[in-house]
């Protein structure tokens, strides 16, 4: 194993340019993936905050009797998904609207503010489907004019997250493919540069596995280096965004380690594909 490691390092010495190129391509592959993963991750935590605030507002028609409202609130309060229901009178609504006029601006601008039953859901029941289901049930009361919740916003975020995930996967996969090809080329160069040694190894009875080992270690080491580089680049990007734009969350240690492992896998794949083919030529 020590011998194999030493032999692996000669790969770097014999073709430093191609080696660096291989590492950088792996890094870019994972960086592309990492950036989009970062976007997806931050959208997810944004979603969580949004979900925490999710409230369904069932606007009550003017002149509805307090008894009817109380009965309805009792019903709704007993739904298993519902945490609590509060009544907001037209007067309170006006005060609140002045504070957060953005989201309900059209209602505000209409000049009349209706009272509403504000429904808060239990944690775990704040996904778009459940929200929608509860909202629909609330709208079945005759005196409920309109039901609103952050529907569009939540759904948009969900869609954005899916998009970020797929874009990251596609771009990352494209770079990974290029990385595999470049690593393959460096391994090919290394194999040819050492064809004499390999021929002698064969002659004295080294097994294929033994002959292959240094090249696999070579690819693995390049992959790990590429992975670490990608991690550094992604972290730097995340820090820059945090400092100049919005606060972002970074991967936890487990995901970061997984990223480096993915690099190792790309490097290993590149050398595996190449070494099997070229060892037969020498």
């Amino acid at each position: 194993m020590r011998l194999a490691t030493r032999e692996a390092l000669t790969g770097f010495r014999k073709s430093p340019l191609l080696s660096v190129l291989g590492i950088v391509t792996i890094a870019f592959s994972l960086f592309a993936f990492g950036l989009f993963a970062l976007v997806a991750l931050n959208i997810r935590s944004a979603l969580r905050t949004v979900e925490e605030r999710v409230e369904i507002r069932a606007f009550v028609a003017d002149g509805t009797s307090p008894e009817a409202i109380a009965t309805a609130m009792g019903d709704i309060g007993s739904f298993p998904e519902v945490l609590r229901v509060t009544y907001v009178s037209p007067e309170e609504a006006l005060v609140r609207a002045k504070r957060e006029l953005r989201e309900f601006s059209d209602v505000f601008e209409s000049g009349f503010l209706p009272g509403s039953m504000d429904i808060r859901l239990r944690p775990g029941f704040r996904d778009p489907t459940t929200v929608k289901a509860v909202a629909e049930r609330a709208s079945t009361y005759e005196f409920v004019d309109d039901v609103r919740y952050g529907q569009e916003w939540v759904e948009k975020l969900y869609r954005l997250r899916t998009l970020a995930t797929f874009a990251g996967l596609a771009l990352g996969a494209a770079f990974a493919l290029v990385a595999v090809i470049i690593i393959g080329a460096t391994i090919r160069t290394a194999v040819l540069a050492r064809s004499r040694e390999i021929a002698i190894m064969r002659l004295v009875g080294a097994t294929d596995g033994f002959v292959r080992m240094p090249f696999l270690i070579d690819g693995f080491v390049k992959g790990v280096l590429g992975g670490l580089l990608a991690l550094a680049m992604t972290w730097f990007a995340s820090e820059t965004i945090s400092r100049h734009m919005i606060r972002t969350e970074f991967f936890d240690a487990r995901i970061a380690a997984l990223g480096v492992l993915a690099g190792a896998l790309i490097g290993l794949l590149g050398s595996l594909f190449s070494v099997g083919r070229h060892l037969k030529e020498v």
Binding site: R196, I200, M201, L203, V204, G205, A206, T207, F210
Partner: protein
């Protein structure tokens, strides 16, 4: 040991290199393979160390049949063979002892066992004093001794030599040849390809002569009182 049974070999582009080759090299035997250039000597040796597979017939070496031998089995077989060539095939960037040690390092030999073995074989080939020399600092004969030391270090049961004296002057040739005979005297079989007829005539070892990919003479098959056969004839 080494047994060829009805072996034929065809190469993709050049066609038939060997046909109807049958012979058996026994334990501890010394056998010459002679014949003009292109007659198939190297091909027979490649079949013996399973670098090539026979197109017809079978080659069995130490119980392993070339038909269906896995790459792993072939690797394991080669640890029990010593192979040397005309061009030595040493690694230029390593000392003599490192070249010999290489054969042990790549075949899972425990590290502690390597040094003593290397020194023993270097002494055996008469190069104990040049262990740290690099190939370029050694004469052709000395380089071939390093190659032979490397071939011997795994205690092979047979030494396969393809024109081992082909690049050497007369003096070095005699030295290497004597070394091979000494090695044979310790019980290691030797199968040596050569077109140096002087060398062959000087001894009474077995001679297998090839021409156009066929065995035209085998001293082990010839009657005891037969003349020395085509050896005196028109090789080359």
């Amino acid at each position: 040991m080494i047994r060829f049974q009805g072996v034929g070999k065809e190469y993709p582009r050049t066609g038939i290199a060997l046909s109807h080759i049958t012979f058996h090299v026994r334990k501890g035997e010394f056998a010459f393979l002679t014949g003009p250039s292109g007659s198939g000597k190297s091909t027979i040796l490649k079949l013996a160390y399973m670098e090539e597979k026979p197109s017809h017939g079978d080659v069995r070496v130490s119980g392993l049949s070339a038909r269906g031998a896995s790459r792993r089995e072939i690797a394991k077989l080669r640890r029990k063979l010593g192979i040397v060539f005309q061009d030595f095939r040493l690694l230029e960037d390593r000392s003599a002892e490192a070249n010999v040690a290489f054969a042990l390092e790549v075949t899972d030999t425990p590290k502690a066992a390597i040094q003593p073995k290397v020194h023993r074989v270097l002494a055996q080939v008469g190069l104990a004093s040049k262990a740290t020399s690099f190939p370029r600092e050694l004469s052709g004969g000395e380089q071939q001794r390093v190659a032979i030391a490397r071939a011997l270090v795994n205690d092979p049961f047979v030494l396969i030599a393809d024109e081992p004296t082909g690049n050497l002057d007369d003096r070095a040739t005699r030295g290497i040849f004597q070394l091979l005979r000494d090695i044979n005297a310790t019980g290691t079989a030797v199968l040596m390809a050569t077109h140096d007829l002087d060398l062959v005539r000087r001894t009474d070892h077995r001679v297998i002569e090839l021409n156009h990919g066929r065995i035209v003479y085998d001293s082990a098959e010839a009657p005891a009182d037969a003349p020395a056969g085509p050896i005196q004839g028109d090789t080359e």
